[in-house]
């Protein structure tokens, strides 16, 4: 079980909706950083993912290690939150 999950999103991003729905379906809470309402966080998202795209999901594990998943990528997201 992760310690913390943060998702960087935008208002119009359909894949962001999918990630949020997937996390909710697995019973996970998450913190959302909306880049439309908080554009200053874009650099943070870019630094984490290396990509100019959302969603960016940052999973912090119990040992404080982090896993960053770019896009709606179930093959990476599912094991990251297990």
């Amino acid at each position: 079980m992760p310690k913390n999950i943060t998702i960087y999103t935008t208002n119009t991003c359909a894949y962001c909706v999918m990630v949020k729905r997937f996390l909710s379906s697995k019973g996970h809470n998450y913190q959302e950083v909306n880049l439309d309402t908080d554009p200053a966080k874009q650099q943070e998202a870019l630094a984490l993912s290396g990509s100019l795209t959302v969603p960016v999901t940052v999973v912090t594990k119990q040992d404080d290690s982090r896993e960053v998943v770019v896009g709606f990528n179930l093959s990476k997201l599912a094991p990251a939150i297990a």
């Binding site: 359909a14 439309d36 870019l46």
Partner: protein, 313 residues
């Protein structure tokens, strides 16, 4: 306990508008319906900024809302949407075997509605700067270009629609159209009114150039002369390719581009395997058409299933 594997009445490959519309019909007929989607329910429609030409929404509707509505309506009647990837389809006795990354599922009938995806331009720099300056989804990535300059490539409805959407963020957009516009007059009128977009007809896109991991210009050709456009990013909407790579080892008939051929009942060359939406040879690439084809396919599938007794394995 029986070791027999039960066949699902109907498996749909894809969960875009065509499949979701078909699922509304089949589930209301008590046909067990499982949709397998590898990316996003709603398909390309879900990542389209705004849909103005879908009947029933006089003020238009966002692509995401339309996709969500279709999904909710299909699920209301019992459609089961599973996330996964189909890797092959073949006839197996009286059933159709659907091979997925999670194993093989058996179905009495299959609907392929995998839609299309954006074509690449195929120029230097396009792959190198993918998602770091070259993009194919304005609603996903446009927000990273607040007060930046952009190039949009393409001259169809999607290119114009997405260029207009990107003016929410960008300070200026150069729209590069290889020949002439194929977009609708309504969109072209909107384009004329938008002062942030400069149109360059008859301009090819030859190279995307950058430094230190960032795009800084696009090189093209206009009337035989080299032209350059300073930019922070490039959005590409130059046409659609069918999502049929998973069928390359199947016996299904495809046209020379890869779209699936069907008969008048929307049935493919494999009995019991039907096709609807953009992936079908002859499709018009409209959401309304895809939904109509989905409904049509559902009725033919019902007819097919009624004539096919439930076999056991």
């Amino acid at each position: 306990m029986s070791s027999e594997k039960k066949a699902i009445d109907l498996i749909m490959v894809g969960a875009g508008p065509a499949a979701l519309a078909a699922a509304i019909y089949t589930t209301r007929e008590d046909i067990e319906t499982v949709l397998i989607e590898k990316a996003i329910p709603g398909g390309l429609a879900a990542v389209t900024d705004w849909v103005d030409n879908y009947p029933g929404f006089p003020k238009g509707i966002s692509g995401l809302d339309l996709a969500e509505n279709l999904r909710a309506q299909a699920e209301r009647f019992g459609a089961q949407i599973e996330m996964g990837e189909v890797t092959g389809i073949k006839r197996q006795g009286k059933h159709v075997a659907v091979e997925t990354t999670d194993g093989t599922k058996l179905a009495r009938a299959v609907l392929i509605a995998t839609g299309t995806d954006w074509k690449k331009i195929g120029v230097p720099g396009e792959q190198e700067f993918y998602a770091r300056g070259v993009h194919y989804c304005a609603t996903c990535d446009g927000a990273f270009y607040r007060d930046k300059k952009l190039v949009v490539v393409g001259g169809g409805n999607s290119a114009v629609q997405e260029a207009l959407f990107l003016t929410r963020f960008a300070s200026h957009i150069d729209l590069l159209v290889r020949s002439t516009f194929k977009a609708s007059d309504v969109l072209l009128h909107e384009l004329e009114k938008n002062k942030k977009i400069t149109v360059h007809l008859g301009t090819t896109t030859d190279e995307i150039v950058g430094e230190n991991g960032k795009v800084n210009k696009v090189i093209g050709t206009h009337k035989g002369k080299k032209v350059e456009f300073e930019t922070d990013g490039v959005f590409v909407f130059v046409g659609l390719k069918p999502n049929t790579q998973f069928l390359k080892n199947s016996s299904i008939d495809l046209d020379e581009i890869g779209f699936i051929k069907t008969n008048a009942k929307l049935e493919s060359s494999i009995p019991g395997v039907f096709v609807a939406g953009d992936v079908r040879h002859g499709a018009t690439m409209q959401i309304a058409s895809a939904v109509g084809e989905g409904a049509t396919a559902a009725l033919h599938i019902r007819e097919y299933l009624e004539g096919t007794p439930q076999p056991s394995y």
